[in-house]
Symmetry: C2
Subunit: 310 residues, 2 copies
């Protein structure tokens, strides 16, 4: 029996899971911090692989990594949280070291692939997956295949302009969905309104985010309720646009901010329903939570290897 | 040798071309008006097929039709310019009458397919095709396959919200690309500005459209130049969004308004370049005109049949 070594490479943690080729239950898993004084992230990664290398034959290494990256060329173009990984040829370096096939994918895209194959998207051919946390990312399955585009840079679903004169996104462009409906966007809205003199249970606090705002909202804090209502409204407009573009049969929401539930999704659904050009886009449309949690990236990396080895 | 009968069904004309399965040169073509007193559009269509039915065996009928329609179920949901075609089971009706396989596709989607297989998109796997005329439509090739979505309603590329408080689109929603950068949108802008007291070579005329505005712009009419500049700017923002979503390697522009050339495309390219989140989206990106003109729908219908019969 051969194994697939799935990697989830993040700025904080490196995770590895060794899956039998035909199973989603790993034989073993391991996680270590990405950063350690005196060692590069690549040295940490090869250390993890060396120490976990199994006795069984390895069919492939498959890695999920924050983008932008080019899965076809196997190159990480730049990844904000790992210093030095600029135009970094990860696939070539790992495959020449370990002499096995190596596959690379964008972590949000692979999470979508994982949810489709093994989670909330099973049985669908057209899936829209959005993960809403500090930022907004996602992935799309179109006609039973992961959307990647010419250089693996497709499906940047948080970077849709919904307010041309809106707040700046982390990417530098104005009015992207991510700037408005992410945890960062929700917190910015509350802070701006407090600075303008609005009262809130959060007034006077300096450090708070979407989690604290959700807690305040659940206790009836008006500004916090309004912040989620705004974020949900603009999310609903963006999702209506994605329905026109992709016509999916299921919407899957993951990420920490999605845990806020109805606070975000009631206004999202209202605006989405008002903003579609034809009711047909809503017929039979399933709206659901992601099922794989933190394991979406690893299971997506597994699915990627299974598809590539087929 | 068997033939594929390609149909391009429009509100004004019905066109038929009989292609040998392995050729893009039709053995014969015919066109008739869609509307005729005392006859339904369906009777006109079957009349056209009956009178053109070849002696050679027919491998399939493949039809391009304005949407919304469901290619998988073979049903035209509604098509504004053909009265009575509401939930119209065209595929079932034609296949039971002619006893051959019948395929149906959205005309803008099939034009994209035609341009990809036989026109400006050859050699690319990721194609974004936009047709800009009275409205704005389009189609997308993702990883070598036509994007259709769960019910064939994907790729409504004109129905992207780019000005949430903008003018109403023909579909009833505010601020869609089609409402702003189509021929209709360009003419609305000029008429609004004239009504506000702006001077223009077109002042005093009651009937004019994008063609007349382009002619006035080419003679230096300031308002007409501004109208194209606005339309191009918003088109550029929409295209930047589509680059983030699809990461295509080629952009193909068709439709009458695209003939205005630099008037529209200079501002489009400027805004597109300013609005992408990463230069990688522009690297090697080809921007070109559609090559198939009025035949894109027929050649797309041919390509659809070839793919389905494979």
């Amino acid at each position: 029996m051969s194994l697939i070594l799935a990697l989830d490479i993040g700025g904080t943690q490196l995770r590895l899971a060794a899956f039998p080729n035909n199973s989603t239950t790993p034989l073993r898993t391991q996680r270590i911090p990405t950063q350690c004084p005196g060692e590069s992230a690549y040295e940490r990664l090869t250390g993890l692989l060396d120490s976990s290398w199994p006795d069984e034959p390895v069919a492939a290494i498959s890695a999920a990594c924050p983008g932008p990256l080019d899965p076809e060329r196997g190159i990480i173009l730049s990844t904000p949280n790992i210093p030095g990984w600029i135009n970094f040829p990860l696939v070539e370096m790992l495959s020449s070291r370990y002499k096995v096939p190596v596959f690379l994918g964008n972590d949000a895209n692979l999470a979508a692939l994982g949810e489709w194959k093994y989670g909330a998207g099973r049985g669908h051919d057209n899936v829209l997956y959005l993960t809403i946390s500090t930022g907004i990312g996602g992935g799309v399955i179109c006609g039973g295949r992961l959307l990647t585009g010419a250089h693996g840079m497709a499906a940047e679903l948080g970077h849709l302009t919904i307010q041309p004169d809106g707040p700046l996104c982390a990417c530098g462009q104005p009015g992207h969905l991510e700037a408005i409906s992410s945890g960062t966007g929700i917190a910015r809205y509350v802070k701006e309104q407090i600075a303008l003199g609005r009262r809130s249970a959060l007034s006077g606090l300096t450090q708070f985010g979407a989690r604290e705002i959700a807690a305040a909202a659940s206790k009836g804090d008006e500004l916090s309720l309004e912040a989620f209502s705004q974020a949900g409204k603009w999310l609903g407009l963006a999702v209506a646009n994605y329905l026109h573009i992709f016509n999916p049969s299921v919407l899957i929401f993951g990420g920490g901010v999605s845990q806020s539930g109805d606070l975000l999704f009631d206004p999202m659904k209202r605006t989405m329903a008002q903003s579609v050009m034809d009711q047909g886009y809503l017929d039979g449309l399933e709206i659901t939570n992601a099922q794989l949690g933190d394991d979406a990236g690893l299971l997506g990396a597994l699915a990627q290897a299974q598809i590539m080895l087929r």
